[in-house]
Assembly symmetry: C2
Homo-oligomer: 379 residues x 2
């Protein structure tokens, strides 16, 4: 092991006691920090931007219909105050001289496979269903696995409930939970709070304890997607059936009967859940579609088979849960899909809710779906 | 379960086959995507920004000493090409009309407790020591635990090596790995790639298989820190000794002798490692300090005890590894600490390397440290 010799010159610099810099500061002093967003006690929210040379600042937030333009102070700090807002977790961006980007002062950032956005959390008076509470907590495990279906080393997240490690002889049901086109396999944890929602429901005795497996839903390079959605969905299905499920069943104590296997997802992942879940009623008896990108049953053989024999499909499925917000741009597609199910006589739960194509809706859908899963008998 | 009735009017909208929107598009068509950064085959890198109304764009990157100003094209797209760059993972931000923020077009973002930065990865011809390779992979586990020392529900990350789950009777040594002031407990994984570095070293047979525990190093609100560093470091120590280590030893198969316990960290976490590791030679026999914020041994009783009895300290410690870059703003403090060790005759390894206060340095330090840990005999 090479040790650099201490030179006499260096030693000469030594002072006997308290010799180390208390706040080493060869760097230029930073500008005073800007707090943005600031949530006031009355749940109004102030956004800020230090931008003395900027000419225009706007808030991009489709959940906010009021004033969006910031005002410039004499100190070069722009501000906008809105609300009061309902307690929730919101995403937003700034428009700075026409450029859409995050709030540069806010460390809370939603990342994924598309450009980032900022995160605003308006706390509730008591911890919300998605907050960290002083309850027993499960764990989230991040794995890489070799996917034969795609030839890739891929990543997934797995939630195990609080009692899992201490119950070596118990097997659990599994929910496969799929993300949207802008996210990755960490999205349902980081922004969806799936693990905390489940911890809290379990603590309240409101749900069956289960694992939640969150795989990665992109396989093709994003640039290829406009031509390649169908190809990607085929690969996602193959990866899930031939690699993800075997990996989970080899490495976790899970039940393997279709009554103990659910699949649900949002947007792109909702479409994948329909394709995979409804296309394989021998594997999945619980299916959830959140603001789903439901597409082209005519071109999907497995979905056609599911639709072609309603009696058989009804006998297999325990729950087909479909939710969409009134302001979601995918509402019409979902209404058409639901109408098709109605016309065919295929049982389902249809929830037309407030909200648009956004995470506040999907957290609530998961919170509503989890207590319905893996119950005895048909929901 | 409430099911919204399908109305006749809605059913009337049905077309018999292929009825679902192929690309539901009530949203305005998005602008064509901008690729930024683009890494060219010769490892030059082009940064871009769509900003027709912007007056000035600059690159903030202390690893780049050349041109930093973007040029505006007639299409309103600003560009800057630099390099070629050495293969590595770099952090950068933009200055857009004087506002420091991420590259809005780049989904790769480093997050933490301070404002985000963008991530540029320049791939090497063959996978680097921090890349995902087709080798056996360990897993990273995310836990919440009740910290009695702080009264908080806190989070930590734990890496287990590839063979861990399959070796139920084996106990492993543990490295406690601490992050810097801008990061959180996910930093050593997300940006440090600690799990992948360990996977690759294990696959090459170059290191002893060990767990890596990555706790969260902030306890006080960030705004209080300028007055509260000493208080925070006391709490971090108390939390680690009284909550983190007991949690790990209760939930993972780890060895509990000090020869099997290491602590290392970067910057703030390097200072904490010195405080906790050198202050408790009964618990830790391996200590690593990466660009450490080493401060005030005169005011730290445990560190004073360590320095006061060099013979005892030398007999206990297996390795005290200290690294700092030539361009690091903490270099002088580290040199003074090393000189103090020299003056006292306390054995250590001092690595004065290229680099500044940044992640490319710390990934390499971890890659250099891991093979030295938990070996038989003194390194």
């Amino acid at each position: 092991m090479k040790t650099t010799p201490i030179t006499a010159a260096l030693l000469g610099n030594l002072v006997v006691a308290g010799l180390l810099a208390q706040q080493p500061a060869r760097r230029p002093p930073p500008e005073p920090p800007i707090q943005s967003p600031e949530v006031h006690p009355d749940r109004r929210v102030t956004f800020r931007l230090r931008g003395p040379n900027v000419r225009e600042v706007k808030l991009n937030a489709n959940w906010h219909s009021g004033e969006k333009a910031f005002l410039r102070g004499e100190d070069g700090i722009w501000t906008l105050t809105i609300g009061p807002l309902e307690p929730d977790i919101y995403n937003y961006t700034y428009s700075i001289d026409g450029v859409t980007t995050i709030d540069p002062h806010n460390p809370a950032v939603k990342t994924g496979v598309r450009p980032a956005s900022s995160v605003l959390e308006v706390p509730a008076p008591a911890p919300a269903f998605y907050d960290v509470r002083a309850v027993p907590h499960g764990a989230v495990h991040i794995h890489h696995y070799q996917s034969k279906a795609t030839g890739q080393t891929r990543r997934l997240h797995v939630y195990t409930p609080p009692g899992y490690a201490g119950a070596p002889n118990r097997r659990y049901p599994v929910l496969y939970l799929l993300h949207g086109a802008g996210d990755d396999d960490s999205g349902w944890m980081h922004i969806g709070r799936a693990h905390l929602i489940m911890d809290n429901l379990i603590a309240e005795g409101k749900t069956v304890e289960a694992l939640i497996v969150m795989p990665f839903g992109h396989i093709l390079p994003l640039g290829d997607l406009r031509a390649g959605w169908e190809r990607q969905n085929q690969l996602v299905e193959k990866d899930l059936l031939e690699d993800v499920i075997p990996f989970i069943e080899a490495n976790y104590r899970v039940r393997r009967d279709p009554d103990s296997r659910a699949i649900a997802g949002l947007s792109m992942g909702g479409g994948q859940s329909a394709r995979i879940g409804l296309g394989h009623p021998d594997l999945f008896h619980w299916v959830g579609m959140f603001s789903a990108a439901v597409r082209e049953p005519a071109s999907n053989e497995a979905l056609q088979r599911f639709l072609a024999d309603p009696a058989k499909s009804n006998a297999a499925l325990r729950l087909l849960w479909i939710g969409c917000g009134k302001d979601d741009f995918l509402l019409e597609a979902n209404q058409q899909f639901v109408a098709l199910l109605e016309a065919k006589g295929i049982r389902h739960t249809w929830r037309l809710t407030e909200g648009d194509h956004s995470w506040p809706v999907w957290r609530r859908y998961l919170h509503e779906l989890l207590p319905l899963l893996f119950r005895q008998g048909r929901t």
